[in-house]
Symmetry: C2
Subunit: 470 residues, 2 copies
């Protein structure tokens, strides 16, 4: 049997089920994605055409002259077995079925069909990815099934029982600086499953952090063994879908998974030192923290800095609700702050809120001072993107103050050895979003972990600290 390492770096890819006419067909999208990614050997297969999207098109797999290691399939389920005979004849290493309507459909004959497919794969010496998934995204190998996929390789691997999450997470997290080594959407997990993927990724030199979206596992014991091994080597972040009654039902209909309760799963994750998260948002936030915060804090003391009394009160509540601690500043430290922060409309006790906390000088001094307080383990600076405001007072401007703010905040961790997090809050309108995205880009480029609210930052850090302390 070919190894997963071989499967992740195919020499040639055949795409079966491409359409000349239907612009929304998956196969057509895969060909376009591979072309866009610069994959060198793409073979569309469809007996109706001799050319497709500027490439020679072949009537069948055996008719392809070159080496085919990987096959992407989106023809109807009924034709799956015949196709697998062709795959065996061609000597392929892996077959990815985008095609759905198998075991997850609830029909017994479709589950039977899945079993017959697996037997064919075993006999033919190749592996199956899926069915009912969007397959492999490996930037380093120029392998992608989505034209929106960001192709810069990185150090995060993501395995996902949902094709939607597999497609959306790399796209959604690209502006926050996350880059991926491998993303595997494995759907019904007929052959390649979460346990095997975890085992492989724990050894994969290109992967430093592992993330997983799992609805249910087929072989609990094997999965837990693989999780234990992986979590002992690398941070593993798991979002388990289908933890409520309705979620379980949806998961069963989605990928034929039988889900367990959140309490059981939570206990296992603690025991095995994996980081369990509650939803996709938290999954992403924890990845951002793991990727950009070095070293990770062990203590939960945080200082909150920025302008605005309401947001500062809210911040305080969010931090403490999430389980972080905001140490009260000593009267000496408060007195030092009062020397350069204006009294009016200010809070000095932690949170620290003052109208001039948008000026590089005030930011630098404040962060350095707070960073030197022993029970403060990390600092967070918050910045909102507000309307073109009435008085500009205490307002951040992308044009005039973005780069100087980035530079001022970049000094702080160097000076104190304590990480600085950013909470940038998106705006409700297009002009505000432009500023927000520009600021995010600058902070991410400077290596900051950027969160989209204080609440999200607090939740992610609380998870990481609990894990890092154990």
């Amino acid at each position: 049997m070919p190894s997963l390492a071989e499967i992740f770096s195919p020499r040639g890819v055949a795409v079966v089920g491409v359409s000349q006419v239907d612009e929304t067909s998956f196969g057509r999208g895969v060909v376009l994605s591979l072309k866009r990614a610069g994959f060198p050997a793409i073979y569309p297969v469809n007996p109706k055409y001799t050319e497709l999207l500027g490439l020679p098109c072949y009537p069948s797999l055996p008719a392809i002259p070159g080496v085919v290691d990987h096959v992407v399939v989106s023809i109807p389920a009924e034709s799956a077995l015949a196709l697998l005979d062709d795959c065996a004849a061609k000597g392929v290493k892996s077959v990815h079925f985008f095609t759905a309507g198998f075991g997850e459909s609830g029909y017994a004959e479709r589950a039977e069909l899945e079993r017959a497919m697996l037997l064919k794969a075993r006999a033919g010496g190749f592996r199956i990815i899926g069915p009912n998934c969007i397959g492999l995204f490996v930037p380093k190998s120029r392998l992608a099934t989505s034209t929106g996929a960001p192709m810069e390789p990185g150090s995060i691997a993501f395995i996902s029982q949902s094709g939607g999450h597999a497609e959306n997470i790399p796209f959604h997290t690209d502006p926050r600086g996350l880059r991926f080594s491998k993303v595997v959407s494995y759907g019904n997990a007929l052959d390649v499953d979460e346990a095997e993927l975890l085992q492989y990724l724990s050894q994969d030199p290109d992967t430093e952090i592992i993330a997983a979206y799992i609805e249910g596992v087929r072989d609990g014991k094997r999965f837990l063994g693989a999780l234990k091994e992986a979590a002992a080597r690398k941070p593993v972040v798991i979002y388990k879908g289908g933890t409520t009654e309705a979620g379980k039902r949806a998961a069963h209909g989605h990928t034929a998974s039988l889900s367990s309760s959140v309490a059981v799963f939570d206990g296992l994750c603690r025991q095995l030192k994996a980081i369990r998260v509650d939803d996709v948002e938290e999954l992403v936030d924890v990845l951002v923290a793991l990727r950009f915060i070095r070293p990770l804090p062990r203590g939960n003391g945080i200082a909150v800095v920025g302008t605005g009394g309401g947001p500062s009160v809210l911040a305080s509540d969010e931090m403490e609700k999430a389980g972080l601690h905001m140490p009260r500043l000593s009267s000496e430290t408060q007195a030092e702050l009062r020397q350069f922060l204006p009294l009016a409309g200010a809070i000095f006790s932690n949170p620290v809120d003052a109208t001039n906390l948008v000026s590089p000088e005030a930011i630098s001094k404040t962060m350095s001072l707070l960073g030197s307080v022993p029970d403060i383990d990390m600092l967070i600076y918050h910045l909102g993107f507000h309307p073109a405001s009435r008085w500009g007072h205490g307002r951040f401007s992308v044009e005039t103050s973005l780069q100087s703010t980035v530079d001022a905040l970049r000094q702080a961790p160097k000076a104190t050895g304590k990480p600085v997090l950013l909470a940038l809050c998106p705006a409700p309108d297009l002009s505000g979003m432009k500023d927000f995205l520009a600021a995010q880009e600058a902070f991410v480029a400077a290596g900051f972990p950027v969160f989209h609210s204080l609440r999200q930052a607090a939740r992610a850090m609380a998870r990481i600290i609990a894990w890092n302390r154990e």
Copy 2:
């Protein structure tokens, strides 16, 4: 003493502390805001100028020839008492102090100054708003202190101890269709306080829904009496800031408030039939639901409809975690769905997920069918804004399908009498945000309650149903 009704509709406004040179001065911003709002009688006051921003500028309050009902003040705290003598001489009705650095600063002499100001106001027969706040925003009276304020009047009143929230919430919620009757930022509540405001708003014919951000109350008994009276007449939504230790400390530094614990406050809200929320996000979501859902559901059964297996599983978990119930569809209903929804990649049990659930026909049929199920009390349709995707399959397009989707969803509540909610998920990039904002605008214009995630919708509805059942 003038009534609050008189204070909310001043005939003339003087702005004391305007600057010709400092473009970020609050007073200058207020003059610009009033001009932009079309307020008819604006009087800048500054002895240094004779003209400011195209208006005659006066050396002092008594020098103004016209009627001055309301005075906006941003001169330093030290000059407050002398200014109040001028206010008395001029016969004003209300004085709003933007100026901060009073009781909240922690200095005893500043708290003493506040008390002296209150005595002057009592003697002079006028009221004080603040200090340490951004004051009054009354669209109907063309009264605003922020140039970003959306000036279309509406039926929601918002009182806020935070100027930031008072300024940001109308701006942030404008794209979601919220419009305001009055927004009052009352800061330190030296004179006009939350109890008096609640009492007034409960009788205000322009106000149908009352929202409040409160850090602490000075007179608990009076406040609870006013809250009881208001909540008996109109929905009252309260976000209480400063519920954690750090939050209390911040609130004290912010507006000199002494906060109580969340448990105590929660119990009181239940007893008095007010809707307590946990944060600003939830405050806004509950307002959107109250404003756009008629009648409000009493049962907690919800059907979730949209495309994407992962999001559907996530949806199910979010709904049940928040306390809503997703009734499992009967096999008869599922069979009916299968007649027009494709089998592959679909979930029929509730959530309902199928690739063609972006076509108006499939949406209409699905929503009508689900709306007729007895234990489904409301429906939610979810829509993500994704990358220019590889295959377009199951993808929503603003250009080609927005209006038909709006129309299809608009039929559903008419046909079944059950409310339809929208969960539109923002995109990470500018092009996706453009689509998101266009879709939001169309759905809001058609009268839909729009939420930015399934989780947010679920939390808000769970709050409202609990309140509506009592």
